[in-house]
C-alpha cells in the first residue's frame, strides 16, 4: 500500500523559531499523496497551508523550520528518501526536476527584470539538462505552446509585466513542467485570477497531470477548486488536519463542523445575498496554548469535553478521517 505513495508527510511539524520562543505553525500533520492523484489541502488564510507546502521542497523562510516528523519521498530511481533530512545541495537537485511548484501571485513570482523565456530556460541550464542553448530555447518554446500560450516564440522574449495574470500563471506552469516533475505543488494557483481564467488554469493543471502521470498537491481555500480538481482532500485548521476524505465522500458527508462551515460558505445561484453563510469568529492566536479542541470557540455544536481534551484524528469510514468529539458519538 505505502509503495503507491509518492509523498508521505508523517507527523510533520513546522515552527517559527525565535530567540526566546518557538511558535508552532504546522502541528504534526499526516498527509499522503498517492502516485498519479491530485490531493487538495484546504483551509482559511493563515492556517499553515503554504508552510506545509514549502517544507516539502524546503523553501521555508529563514525564520521557519521543520521541527519534527518526516517527509518521505518515494521514487524508483532513489528509493525512499526523507526530504526533511536531505542536504540543501541534494534538495536543490530534486527541485525543478522531480518536485515543482506554482505560486499564488504570478506577477511577483516571476523576476520582473528577466524575460520569461529565460526564466524557464534557467531550470534546464541549472540542472544541466540541456547544455545546448539553441536546443534549450526550442524546448522552452515547445513547453510554452503546451501550456496554451499563443505565438510562443514571440512570448519567449516577453517581460513579465507585458503579460496578463493568466498568461503569467501559464508561464509559471511551463516553468514547473519543463523537466516533467513527478509532483506539482500548486499553492493557491488561481486565487489571484478571475473566474474564467481560473477555470482554464485548473483544467490545464488537470490535463497536464493526466498526460504526464504526475501527482499534484493543490492548495486552496476554495471548495469549488477542490471539487473540480482533486481526488482526495485534507481540511486543515490552525496547523492540524481536522478532516480528510475522498472528495465525493467529503462533499456528501462532511463530519467536522469546520468542513461543514466551509462547504456551506460556497454561495449558490439563487441564494439570498443578504444571508451568505460564514463561519463565526476568527482564527485564534496560535501563541495561546489551549488544551481543548482548537475549533471549540467557533463551534456551534460543542460539548463539555471539547474544552478539556483535544480530539484525535479517527477513521469514521473508508478513507474518511475526522478530528471531532461530536462526530465520534461522544
Amino acid at each position: 500500500m505505502s509503495e503507491d505513495l509518492l509523498l508521505e508527510l508523517r507527523d510533520l511539524s513546522v515552527s517559527i523559531v525565535g530567540k526566546k520562543e518557538t511558535l508552532p505553525i504546522v502541528k504534526g500533520i499526516d498527509l499522503h499523496i498517492p502516485r498519479g492523484s491530485i490531493v487538495g489541502l484546504v483551509g482559511e488564510s493563515g492556517c499553515g497551508k503554504s508552510m506545509t507546502a514549502k517544507s516539502i521542497n524546503n523553501i521555508l523562510p529563514p525564520f521557519a523550520r521543520v521541527t519534527g516528523g518526516s517527509i518521505i519521498w518515494r521514487t524508483e530511481a532513489s528509493g525512499e528518501v526523507d526530504l526533511a533530512l536531505l542536504k540543501e545541495k541534494e534538495m536543490r537537485k530534486k527541485c525543478g526536476t522531480e518536485i515543482a511548484m506554482v505560486f499564488q501571485e504570478p506577477m511577483t513570482s516571476l523576476n520582473p527584470l528577466m524575460q520569461v523565456g529565460e526564466q524557464i530556460k534557467e531550470v534546464l541550464t541549472i540542472h544541466g539538462v540541456e547544455r545546448d542553448n539553441k536546443k534549450a530555447k526550442d524546448r522552452v518554446i515547445e513547453m510554452l505552446s503546451k501550456v496554451g500560450i499563443a505565438e510562443p516564440a514571440l512570448r519567449y522574449n516577453a517581460w513579465p509585466h507585458e503579460l496578463s495574470g493568466g498568461m503569467r500563471q501559464r508561464v509559471m506552469i511551463a516553468m514547473a513542467m519543463i523537466c516533467q516533475p513527478k509532483l506539482l505543488i500548486a499553492d493557491e494557483p488561481t486565487t489571484a485570477l478571475d473566474v474564467t481564467i481560473e477555470a482554464q488554469i485548473l483544467s490545464l493543471i488537470k490535463e497536464l497531470c493526466r498526460n504526464n502521470s504526475m501527482s499534484a498537491l493543490v492548495i486552496t481555500h476554495n471548495m469549488g477548486v477542490v471539487s473540480t480538481l482533486c481526488d482526495y482532500v485534507y481540511v486543515m485548521y490552525l496547523g492540524s488536519v481536522v478532516e480528510s476524505a475522498p472528495v465525493k465522500e467529503l462533499f456528501n458527508n462532511p463530519c467536522h463542523p469546520y468542513t461543514r462551515g466551509l462547504l456551506s460558505s460556497i454561495p449558490h445561484v439563487g441564494d439570498n445575498p443578504e444571508f451568505l453563510h460564514t463561519i463565526p469568529g476568527n482564527v485564534p492566536d496560535m501563541k495561546k496554548h489551549f488544551k481543548g479542541c482548537d475549533f471549540c470557540l467557533r463551534c456551534s455544536d460543542d460539548i463539555k469535553q471539547c474544552f478539556f481534551e483535544k480530539p484525535a484524528l479517527t477513521e469514521t469510514g473508508a478513507g474518511h478521517f475526522v478530528r471531532c468529539h461530536r462526530s465520534l458519538g461522544a
Binding site: P62, R92, T97, A100, F103, N111, P112, M114
Partner: protein
C-alpha cells in the same frame, strides 16, 4: 527615445533657471566686486572706470543677456580676480575633481555594496552588526573629521601616505577615502535594506523551487532588483561629489572645482562664481539623466 529628449530639454530649462537665480543673487547681496578688487581708499574716478570696464554699469537685463549669449558659445566671461577666462579656469580645475571623484566613488561603492550585501545575507548576525555599525559611523561622521583623522593616523602616526595632494596618485588616496566615507555608509545601508526586501520577494521562492541555491537565487535574481534604487542613489552621489568637494579639496589642498568656487566666493568674483555654479548644475543634471538611462537599461518596466 523621446523620453530622453524631454529630459535634455528639462536640463536646458533648469540651467537657465540656475543662471538667472545666481545672476540675481550675486547682484542683491551687499558688497560690490569693484571695492574688493581695488583698495578701499582709492578715488571715486578709478572706481567708476573699473565699473565701466567690467560692464557693471549697464542695465541688468542687458548684462544677463550678454552673459547668456556668451555662455551659449562656451564663453563664461573673465575672472575679475585671476584675470583669466572662466572656462579655462574650470577646465584646469575639473580634472583634479574628476580624479578625486572617480577614486572616491570606486572606494565608496565597492565598500558600500560589498558590505551591504554581506549585511543582508548575514542579517542580524555578527558580520551584519559590524558592517551596520561601520556604515552608521560612515554616514554620521562629518567629512572634515574623517579627513583630519586620516591625516593624523595615516600620515602623522604611521607615515604611510602623503599629508596633502602633491600630484601623485598615492596622495589622492586619503582625499578619496575622506570624500567617499559618507557615500560608502549610505550605499551600504541602502544596499542592505533593498536586498533584504528583495530576499522576501516571491520570485526568490520561485528560484529556489526550481533548483537554485539561496546564494544563486540572490546573485542571479535578487541582486539585480536590489540594485535599482542603489544606482539612483549612486548617480546622485556622483554628481554631488563632482560638484561639492569644497571641504575635502581645501583640507588636502587640491586645486579642483571646490577650491575654485571657494576662491570665487572669497573674492566676490562674480563671473567665476556664476561659471562654477552653472557648471556644477550641469554636472548634477547629467548625473540624474545617467541614473535614468542606466535604470531604463536594467528595468524593462521603465521602457515605453
Amino acid at each position: 527615445m523621446p523620453a530622453l529628449l524631454r529630459r535634455f530639454l528639462g536640463v536646458v530649462f533648469v540651467l537657465l533657471g540656475v543662471m538667472l537665480l545666481i545672476f540675481i543673487m550675486l547682484r542683491i547681496i551687499p558688497g560690490d566686486p569693484v571695492s574688493v578688487l581695488l583698495n578701499e581708499h582709492v578715488n571715486p574716478a578709478t572706481v567708476e572706470k573699473m565699473t565701466e570696464s567690467l560692464g557693471l554699469n549697464k542695465p541688468l537685463p542687458e548684462q544677463f543677456f550678454s552673459y547668456l549669449l556668451g555662455a551659449l558659445k562656451g564663453d563664461l566671461g573673465k575672472s575679475y580676480y585671476m584675470r583669466k577666462p572662466v572656462t579655462a579656469l574650470i577646465m584646469e580645475a575639473f580634472p583634479y575633481t574628476l580624479l578625486l571623484t572617480v577614486l572616491s566613488a570606486a572606494f565608496a561603492w565597492a565598500f558600500g555594496i560589498g558590505t551591504g550585501i554581506i549585511s543582508a545575507i548575514y542579517n542580524n548576525r555578527l558580520p551584519d552588526y559590524i558592517f551596520r555599525g561601520l556604515s552608521l559611523f560612515g554616514i554620521s561622521v562629518p567629512v572634515f573629521i574623517v579627513a583630519l583623522s586620516l591625516q593624523y593616523f595615516i600620515y602623522f602616526k604611521l607615515s604611510l601616505l602623503p599629508l596633502t595632494y602633491n600630484g601623485s596618485l598615492q596622495s589622492m588616496i586619503l582625499p578619496a577615502i575622506a570624500l567617499g566615507w559618507n557615500s560608502a555608509g549610505s550605499v551600504a545601508r541602502l544596499t542592505r535594506s533593498s536586498l533584504m526586501g528583495e530576499l522576501e520577494a516571491p520570485y526568490i521562492d520561485t528560484a529556489r523551487a526550481k533548483g537554485l541555491t539561496t546564494r544563486q537565487a540572490i546573485v542571479r535574481h535578487g541582486l539585480r532588483n536590489a540594485m535599482l534604487p542603489v544606482i539612483t542613489m549612486m548617480a546622485l552621489q556622483l554628481s554631488s561629489m563632482l560638484s561639492g568637494a569644497v571641504i575635502t579639496e581645501s583640507i588636502f589642498s587640491i586645486s579642483g572645482m571646490g577650491k575654485l568656487a571657494l576662491t570665487a566666493v572669497q573674492t566676490r568674483d562674480m563671473p567665476l562664481l556664476q561659471g562654477t555654479v552653472l557648471f556644477m548644475a550641469f554636472v548634477i543634471s547629467m548625473g540624474n539623466i545617467l541614473a535614468d538611462v542606466i535604470n531604463t537599461i536594467l528595468d524593462p518596466r521603465l521602457r515605453v
